[in-house]
């Protein structure tokens, strides 16, 4: 078999505690990798993408399997929670439909049963489908090492194509989302030439909050994917909407400004022009849907 020829052997461990996992991450340093759903890392290992000695299966660690929501603390998704647990969860469906949008369109059913948003974030693909949703929702990555915990805003987590901001010895434990505010809504959209099972040509996540009259935008976060070396928070476009009335012109304005931070490439999936156009179209449509959700339509 193909795997026989090119997948080098390594040590495997499935620790039952976070402490034990951190011990491995610490002692093997850059030669240790975490295994959650395996949908990216096993493919990359077959392609000899990294020199790895220890694969730490994190699926038996309680903290990484936790999925919890309270109105006051918001949502916490363990780094090993697969997409299917996210989109089948009624509290997430109710409070974070944008996260369901993203988790539901990653791969096919076979992939969704294994793939995690923690892995999607750590894989740091420029086109990673949950990442713009995480950025828009104001998510924070909770990472841990033997030195203790720290938190990284989702928009700062990816530092380059396929490169995350974790230091040697660190493990992503969970992703935390603030509780949804009153009159808030969010949406995630991806463009692919097929209906399913493809990598984004461009994707956009947006989240916004309206005033109590549901006429004016009080805050907004627009995030873009597959149009730069990492998924991006479109700060200027987001700020443009603050205090603005809901109107086609204003949504169009934000979508045009969002294009300014996009620096897409031409590749087999799309051209620079197509991707720029998509940023505009997807941003506007995602804003419209987020507004509908914020209004409770």
């Amino acid at each position: 078999m193909q795997g026989d020829l090119i997948l080098k052997n390594f040590q495997y461990s499935a620790p039952l505690t976070l402490d034990q996992a951190l011990q491995y991450m610490d002692s093997f340093g850059s030669k240790a990798k975490a295994l959650a759903g395996g949908t990216d890392i096993l493919v990359q290992l077959r392609g000899n993408r990294f020199d790895m000695e220890m694969l730490v299966d994190v699926k038996s660690i309680p903290e990484l399997n936790e999925l919890s929501y309270t109105d006051s603390a918001g949502l916490s998704v363990g780094a090993a929670v697969p997409c299917v647990r996210i989109y089948e969860d009624s509290l997430i469906q109710q409070n974070y439909p944008c996260l369901v949008d993203a988790a539901y369109l990653i791969g096919g059913i076979q992939i969704q049963g294994r793939a995690t948003i923690g892995g999607n974030l750590c894989n740091a693909s420029p086109s990673g489908d949950t990442i713009p949703a995480l950025i828009a929702l104001g998510a924070e990555a909770i990472v841990c090492s033997k030195r203790g915990y720290r938190s990284i805003p989702a928009e700062d987590f990816c530092v380059g194509p396929g490169q995350n901001g974790l230091e040697n010895g660190e493990l992503l434990v969970s992703i935390k989302f603030p509780p949804p505010k009153l009159y808030s809504g969010a949406h995630f959209l991806r463009f692919i030439p097929r209906n399913e099972m493809d990598i984004a040509v461009a994707n956009v996540g947006v989240a916004l909050t309206l005033d109590s009259n549901k006429q004016t935008i009080e805050s907004a976060r627009i995030a873009l994917g597959a149009v730069g070396p990492t998924p991006l928070l479109a700060t200027t476009a987001s700020d443009f909407l603050v205090g603005k009335e809901i109107s086609d012109d204003n949504l169009y304005g934000a979508a045009e400004i969002a294009k300014q931070i996009a620096s897409p490439i031409t590749d087999m999936r799309g051209t620079i022009n197509q991707r720029m156009h998509l940023v505009g179209v997807l941003t506007k449509r995602a804003l419209q849907k987020a507004i509908e959700r914020a209004k409770g339509v």
């Binding site: 390594f10 040590q11 077959r46 299966d57």
Partner: protein, 158 residues
């Protein structure tokens, strides 16, 4: 010689033990260690679904599962779908609807379809097509496959 790991699992309701290397996928162990060659290798990177098996009730691509991960879990493969002397209604429908040509994708489609019909009732064409999006067929063009799954659903209604 790489170190072998001892794994105890349950495959098609039988307790199974095997030795494998950490790097070996479940697909590789099913086919090359356990001689269960019903599960097929297509792309070996999670795109085609030919190697679909049911792992603790959920379909997965067995090429993207390490064999060491299935310790203590339950697996259903294509070999566990039929009864001893009778095809599963989905298998029967695939034959009757001519929903296969070369056959490489067929075990994956049948296992995935079984998982769907075991979980959900009254699934429509759209749901079947969405559920089977992770299974690729390069011969039939999907129409006959979808029709076979719909026919199997009808045939299993009491």
């Amino acid at each position: 010689m790489n170190e072998k790991i001892h794994v105890k699992t349950k495959i098609n309701d039988d307790y199974v033990e095997f030795l494998c290397e950490a790097r070996q996928s479940l697909l590789e162990v099913l086919r090359d260690v356990l001689d269960m060659t019903g599960t097929k290798e297509g792309c070996n990177d999670g795109n085609c679904g030919a190697c679909t098996v049911i792992l603790d009730g959920r379909i997965v691509d067995s090429c993207l599962v390490l064999a060491v991960e299935v310790s203590g879990k339950e697996i259903i493969t294509i070999e566990g779908v039929a009864n001893v002397d009778k095809l599963h209604p989905i298998q029967q429908a695939f034959l009757e609807q001519a929903a296969l040509q070369c056959g490489i994708c067929t075990p994956g489609f049948i296992v995935a379809s079984k998982a769907l019909l075991d979980r959900e009732s009254n699934v429509d064409e759209g749901r079947i097509r969405h559920w089977l999006a992770g299974n690729l067929c390069r011969c039939t063009g999907y129409d006959k496959i979808v029709r076979a799954v719909m026919a199997a659903q009808e045939n299993t209604k009491i």
